[in-house]
Assembly symmetry: C2
Homo-oligomer: 199 residues x 2
């Protein structure tokens, strides 16, 4: 039925390539875009092209940046001796939103996953090692995810960094704010008990 | 934190205007679009612009069309005496997918809803009345939704069409295929009992 609507079918197909957008959602979005103002559609198309033209990755920490350095690396007020290592730019943004950290970052763009063929050279780990040689880093905070791959990556990096005599810490593992103990998985409770602190 | 990323923030904002796409989904899509190939992003942007340039509505039935008439109206094999009235182009596509109807359509682009200020002149009802004067329509199938607004629209149109001496039918109301009676709402069961047929 869409054979006679090649442009509509093509937009549906392109929208359907986006993650989490299935056939039905793609159709819903295409119908919305057909009814909205032409200005809105042009604004979306130009935002897409402009983003790809202007946004790339920071040459120092690999966070997203417009220009050669990201906002954190450009800032003169950030603590230069502390480096927080995260998997993705989104993780960096989550830590920034918590307003709890004022040091620098390094974004790995993934986590080690030998089964998927992801080794240290597929991540920004060689670039991290170069930074550790040239920058006065004294503490490294490992903020990779608390998943199998994230934990493996943290262990791997901890070993590398300790060999260089840098202090290594890991984000605290425990019960999240606002949780009922009853509904927390056993592994997390176990970590929270093992990591209990004076009160 | 996105202050220094105006292009990225702008794309997030534009994506966030789409229906069913919230702040988090918009961010996820923007990060995906940052990582995918430049070709994919250009293909999406050009599909958006091309769809808006090429797709509009059929001048006869108001289904979506590339050109002045839609595929149904252009076809020489469709039954010209039967007209199925639907609320939206998506409803027309659903009936076409069922391969159960070979007549013409008329798309209202909405349903009567006095509380929202939607009256007959806000829908394609004047255009429908003009078609009934000029086309040899003998039967009208009311296929508006089975909601309060859809039922009200069906009642309104049934009255208009009967005055013109046209036979009016409504899609059957009842239990959908594959359902457990236990889980069907009482209103639907009531309609199914009232509409029971010889077996």
């Amino acid at each position: 039925m869409l054979d006679s609507l090649p442009s509509f079918a093509r937009l549906e197909a392109e929208l359907g390539k986006l993650p989490g957008i299935g056939r039905k959602t793609a159709a819903r979005l295409a119908f919305y875009l057909l009814r909205t103002t032409e200005n809105d559609v042009e604004a979306l198309a130009s935002a897409l092209l402009e983003m790809r033209r202007n946004v790339s990755f920071c040459q120092r920490c690999y966070h997203i940046a417009e220009g050669s350095l990201c906002q954190v690396c450009k800032s003169s007020t950030r603590e230069q001796h502390c480096l927080c290592i995260v998997q993705e730019p989104q993780d960096l943004l989550a830590i920034e939103r918590s307003h709890s950290y004022s040091g620098l970052y390094h974004v790995l763009h993934g986590a080690l996953s030998p089964l998927d063929g992801v080794g240290p050279d597929d991540l920004k780990i060689p670039q991290l090692l170069r930074r550790l040689e040239h920058e006065p880093i004294e503490e490294i905070i490992l903020a990779t995810n608390f998943t199998v791959e994230g934990e493996a990556t943290a262990l791997y990096l901890a070993k590398l960094c300790r060999e260089k005599g840098i202090q290594v810490t890991r984000l605290a593992h425990g019960i999240p704010s606002g949780s009922d103990l009853e509904y927390i998985d056993a592994g997390t409770v176990q970590q929270a008990v093992a990591g209990r602190r004076a009160f």
